[in-house]
Symmetry: none
Subunit: 191 residues, 4 copies
């Protein structure tokens, strides 16, 4: 009678399962995370998990999609809809605190073997880069930014730098320093 509720409930539970699984995968890694634990944490039965995800790998793929989506959104909040860049950089620092950080490198590692996942990451990365290019072009046209580097080069550098600094953070390197370096690089590239 009310399929919408059911449909929305399905969607909500699926999201919840992904979130819980993401936490688990971040904390313990892919192998050490047991399907049972995810189920228990989510307060559903083991079998229920399999109503929403074909198998563990499928769940990991769902997590990856979410994680990559989040990353893209993060870049959007930094580079989109902003006149003033530097002020947006605090957001960057927040992302650093995110546990998603950890699982991301697991996703990268897995991507080297899983072409579907690799494709997914590739596409998103392309989109992020395009978005940054567009942003930089806009700022350049307004005369706010230097024009000595191609926009594309800048975009590549920023994305790569971002990932590299995330590794720093995982290794416990000083976050203030990471943040400072990020800002310095941006200044160097833009002004």
């Amino acid at each position: 009678m009310c399929p919408k509720i059911t449909e929305s409930h399905r969607h909500d539970l699926r999201q919840r399962l992904i979130d819980i699984a993401l936490t688990s995968f971040s904390k313990y890694g892919y192998d050490k995370t047991r399907m049972e634990d995810i189920a228990t944490t989510a307060d559903v039965a083991k079998g229920t998990l399999y109503l929403y995800f074909k198998n563990k790998e499928d769940l990991f793929t769902a997590i990856s999609e979410r994680n990559i989506e989040k990353l893209k959104n993060h870049f959007i909040t930094i580079f989109n809809n902003k006149e003033e860049l530097i002020s947006g950089l605090e957001t960057f620092y927040k992302q650093f605190k995110n546990p998603d950080n950890k699982v991301f490198f697991e996703i990268v590692a897995e991507s080297s073997r899983n072409s579907k996942l690799r494709q997914l990451l590739y596409e998103h990365r392309k989109k992020i880069i395009e978005m940054i290019i567009k942003y930089v072009d806009l700022q350049k046209s307004k005369g706010f930014l230097k024009k000595d580097l191609q926009s594309k080069t800048i975009a590549y550098i920023l994305v790569a730098q971002y990932d590299g600094l995330r590794i720093n953070r995982i290794l416990g390197m000083n976050d203030e320093e990471n943040n400072r370096v990020w800002i310095e690089l941006i200044k160097k590239l833009f002004y």
Copy 2:
């Protein structure tokens, strides 16, 4: 004499086992790599592995050490013993072809949970950074390089950028582009 030979043999076999394991871990990832496969490939018995490594995790640690060591050496070849920087950058491109790339991100992911491993990576990264700082300082003092950025900042940027571009490569992004970006960044930072 005999003991010496045995000792050296021990060391050689250990290295060989690490190399073989590294290949396997890169190809299949940590859990999908079976101890038996490594043993078979190395033409030793399963039990023999345990004469050289306490357990699978210990073997992974050994691989990590080797991988990190290699990375450090790679940076050394680029930044050390060189008057001319740009010419050393071709080496960078070669490293991109290395399968070690893949296992590195598995190591990073694992580091987020394993403090010993994290410590190891942390120390090596520090050393790499120190080495780059030293190099940059030297070049600056000779008047070869600009002085607008702190050497430390430059070092951080380079290391992070390097890692980020490795991710690009894993995802199948155009290597020429990666290489070009790397060189552009270096020029921007240094000249």
Copy 3:
């Protein structure tokens, strides 16, 4: 009126479910047949199956009953209502094509462990034999058949032979040959 329709509908659906299940059990065997598949094929919900059958075993019993019933009917068409035996043998050949063949041996195997099922098969077999005895006696009394073998012996032989030839068919042995042998045996026993 309404209840009657419902009652008849209940009966029809039950029969349909048995038929569908029979097909599945024949194709995939008892355990590889999933309740869900039967439900899906029948276009009813899983839960509905349990309104008609207590559980999977109960469904199997129902199938067995039907299968055994069919077998009995098959023998009836051959041996009952017939003056002329040989002409009835074509029917035998047709039965050979029946997929029920396959499930029958699953039923026999299960019978060796399930006394209720065994009892069922036993009773039906007895009835078939009695029917054949009656038929043979009738034909003997009319002078149409030889009297050198007891009717009971003949009945036993025919039933056993029939089952044995069904195995031949399952194994892919030549059907013409199976049919020929069946006819030769009958001639030998009767004329």
Copy 4:
């Protein structure tokens, strides 16, 4: 140093596992037999089972081979090396007592879905029939048997009858009667 012992030990254990599994499969059927139970009964670990058989199905195949082999041997003892047929028939009765009987119909049922198994049964059946043909031809040539039926027809009838009577036995029909019918049929065909 003494590979023969090891080899023979391997072979012995394999046989033992097959025998134990055969008993289990006969008692409980394919699905209800748990790998763990077989292992426990054999006093080995679960994993050991998988050193000898790839999986449950492979174990079932091994059992089938053994079972079919035994059946062939049984026919050999009846029809081979014998001048006097009737005296060999007692052996037939003994086979009736064999628990292998039960698993045989499970094998037949499975054969209807598994072509490799079907092929196996088919080949053995062919061999049994050929053997009987050879025997009957020999006896005919000596003038001991009637010649009104083709040897091939006789062989087919005997094999099918044998299987049919095994079903009788499983269903709990009187063994004396089964045995009597078997002997009567033989007399009818041969003398």
